[in-house]
């Protein structure tokens, strides 16, 4: 069992009367890779800046290994930050950038040289020590920024959307590299991003934030497969929301739900259920099966869009009540039923047990969720 390294309790922050963080509690474990995920304005960057010490909370405390850091200035915190646009000092060489933090600690010259060399070797930039930042590519600058932050051996590394300025391919490379570094160094990483794919692929745990409140905290798998609410379900990946109504609760921990007139049996969810109660049935596009129109199972509709994506074939299907269904099927040339043409009638179904049930939320939340569509 990992121990708590950083513990945030009851943190609140307002800017000009606007609440950015609202009594937030969060425990960050020693050695984990935790990601703060959310749309812009959700408070994730503010949260990171509170940890770094660039902002002070209006209320609440920040404890690091039991020590109160709430009002400690950034230079006295044993945490370091990798900034969004790297924030490399333009007038210093790569070496001097990385050495800066050690010079501030007044380390002996020889030790500085050795540790900087090590840090640069770790990010494979030994030969670039004499260069100035503007002579490096974006990816190289990124690695200098990482070296500069880890050379101080912080207890925790804060990364503020560090990959957002890189192109897609480089971003993938750096994701792998960051994971490797985190494993090798054993430092806790707190990673901020708005990219859910990045969050899912890199993290041990993901914190989904919205309006300064934690929506869900869990492993990537939990967040993706068992979203806690409508917001998380929508923000993390594509989802089909089918309107359901509980027909009856069965004795054997299952319920029967009416979806598009089909009676399906689902596992009983962990929220209270009663007969006649409406709920959301969530299905990821890859859980949808597209069947021939004469199949016994499924709901009738017709194909309105087909997008070939290489490994998958994505379709949009309009049901008769004009609900849009996204389906993502793995490509299989041998399957004769696979290739539907536009406008062709089909039936839509899914494998029972792959669904996820959510209760109805407040009218505002429902309206907001519908707006996204």
């Amino acid at each position: 069992m990992k121990q708590t390294l950083l513990s945030l309790s009851n943190l609140s922050k307002q800017f000009d009367g606007k609440t950015v963080l609202d009594s937030l509690d969060l425990e960050i474990l020693d050695g984990e890779f935790i990601t703060l995920l959310g749309p812009s304005g959700c408070g994730k960057t503010t949260l990171l800046r509170l940890m770094a010490g660039f902002e002070h909370p209006d209320d609440g405390t920040i404890l690091l290994g039991g020590q109160d850091l709430t009002h400690t200035p950034p230079e006295k915190r044993p945490l370091n930050t990798v900034f969004q646009n790297y924030a490399l000092f333009p007038h210093m060489s790569v070496f001097d950038n990385v050495a800066y933090g050690l010079k501030m600690e007044k380390r002996p010259k020889e030790e500085i040289r050795q540790r900087v060399d090590e840090a640069l070797a770790m990010v494979q930039l030994e030969e670039f020590a004499r260069r100035k930042p503007h002579q490096l590519s974006g990816g190289q600058q990124q690695r200098v920024a990482i070296a500069r932050a880890v050379v101080k051996r912080p207890k925790m590394l804060l990364l503020d959307e560090p990959l957002s300025a890189l192109d897609y391919k480089l971003r993938r490379t750096m994701q792998v590299e960051l994971k490797r570094l985190q494993r090798e160094l054993g430092i806790t990483f707190v990673f901020v991003t708005h990219d859910q794919e990045e969050a899912l692929s890199m993290s041990d745990r993901v914190v989904v934030l919205k309006d300064g409140l934690i929506q869900q905290l869990g492993t990537p798998r939990e967040v993706y497969e068992r979203p806690a609410n409508l917001f998380t379900a929508r923000f993390v990946g594509e989802t089909n929301f089918f309107p359901g109504r509980i027909d009856k609760a069965n004795g054997d921990d299952t319920i029967t739900v009416d979806v598009f007139g089909l009676k399906r049996t689902f596992r009983k969810p962990d929220f209270p259920v009663a007969a006649g109660q409406p709920l959301h049935v969530l299905l990821r596009p890859e859980d949808i099966r597209v069947l021939a129109p004469d199949d016994d199972d499924g709901v009738a509709g017709k194909v309105v869009e087909r997008n070939y994506k290489g490994s998958t074939l994505d379709s949009v299907i309009h049901l008769e009540d004009s609900t849009e269904v996204l389906a993502s099927e793995f490509f299989d040339e041998d399957d004769p039923t696979f290739d539907y043409r536009l406008g062709e009638p089909v039936k839509v179904s899914w494998v029972d047990g792959w669904e996820w049930l959510l209760p109805m939320e407040s009218p505002e939340a429902e309206a907001e969720a519908n707006l996204d569509e």
């Binding site: 800046r49 010490g53 660039f54 902002e55 002070h56 200035p73 950034p74």
Partner: protein, 285 residues
């Protein structure tokens, strides 16, 4: 801004900056306002009671004449600067970018050169037996040397010579921002050259014109050394009056009142400049 800053450094900076500006900008300006409503005193410069005599004195026909003449010369200076500078700035944007930098450099060299020396150089040219007269006579254009020095014209020439770059630079800035596609769009929509000039170019360059006017008109009323060197005793500027009142006649209230009139003129021009910028959707500075 982050709320985390070490207080002593920040406090020291703010105290220094505020102290300097309050003591050497705000206080002196308030003093001038105060001086303008006090009474002249030969012993201690100023004394009570408060009154508006100084402003009334500005209306004295003798001074009014000087002011109007100064205003006339300043206005002529501004107009000539505008007439030379507007096409100049336009032409400047038509040459290659590399050459533009060189030409701008050549334009600001005089700005970095002592203005007294440049005024004096004009005197070399304009004197009765000076180079210009000599040249014109040897070319047979004139028989007798012309009287050019110590005239109204000489003062205006001197002011134009000193202030032209201040007209050109803001104009160049607006012409540089003027996008070619706007002109093409105007032609495309059926406007001829004149219509494009009136409806597109003029409104878009107006802030530059006003900035230039502001930078030329006011100094053109204050640069007292130009008439001193080129103009003789008849072609005085407001600046000469203020200087005489302060340094020679010791009539501080009157000098202060005259300078407040100048300041108000500046405020008015700044207001107009702001307005013109807002009209084309830029934030006034």
């Amino acid at each position: 801004m982050s709320s985390v800053t070490q207080q002593p450094f920040r406090t020291a900076v703010l105290v220094l900056v505020w102290g300097w500006l309050l003591f050497l900008v705000l206080t002196p300006n308030l003093l001038v306002v105060g001086a303008s409503v006090m009474t002249r005193d030969p012993g201690s410069f100023l004394s009570l009671p408060l009154n508006l005599d100084a402003y009334r004195q500005l209306m004295n026909p003798l001074y009014l004449d000087v002011f109007l003449h100064s205003l006339y010369m300043a206005a002529m200076t501004t107009l000539i600067c505008l007439l030379i500078g507007y096409p100049f700035a336009w032409a400047l944007t038509k040459v290659g970018k590399q050459r533009q930098m060189l030409l701008i450099f050549l334009l600001i060299v005089p700005f970095w050169t002592n203005s007294l020396v440049r005024t004096y150089a004009l005197k070399l040219l304009l004197a009765t037996n000076g180079l210009l007269n000599n040249a014109l006579m040897s070319l047979g254009i004139i028989e007798e040397p012309l009287r050019m020095l110590y005239t109204e014209g000489a003062v205006i020439v001197g002011l134009v010579y000193l202030l032209l770059p201040f007209m050109i630079l803001p104009l160049y800035a607006v012409f540089d921002d003027l996008r070619e596609d706007l002109l093409r769009a105007s032609h495309d929509l059926g406007a001829g050259r004149l219509a494009t000039f009136v409806h597109v170019i003029v409104p878009l360059t107006l802030p530059g014109v006003l900035a230039g006017v502001m930078l030329v008109l006011l100094p053109a009323m204050g640069l007292f050394f130009v008439p001193d060197i080129l103009g003789g005793s008849r072609n005085l500027l407001v600046g000469n009056v203020i200087k005489n009142q302060f340094l020679d006649a010791r009539n501080w209230p009157f000098g202060a009142a005259a300078s407040i009139v100048l300041t108000l003129a500046m405020a008015f021009l700044m207001f107009a400049h702001r307005l013109s910028k807002r009209r084309i959707g830029e934030d006034g500075v």
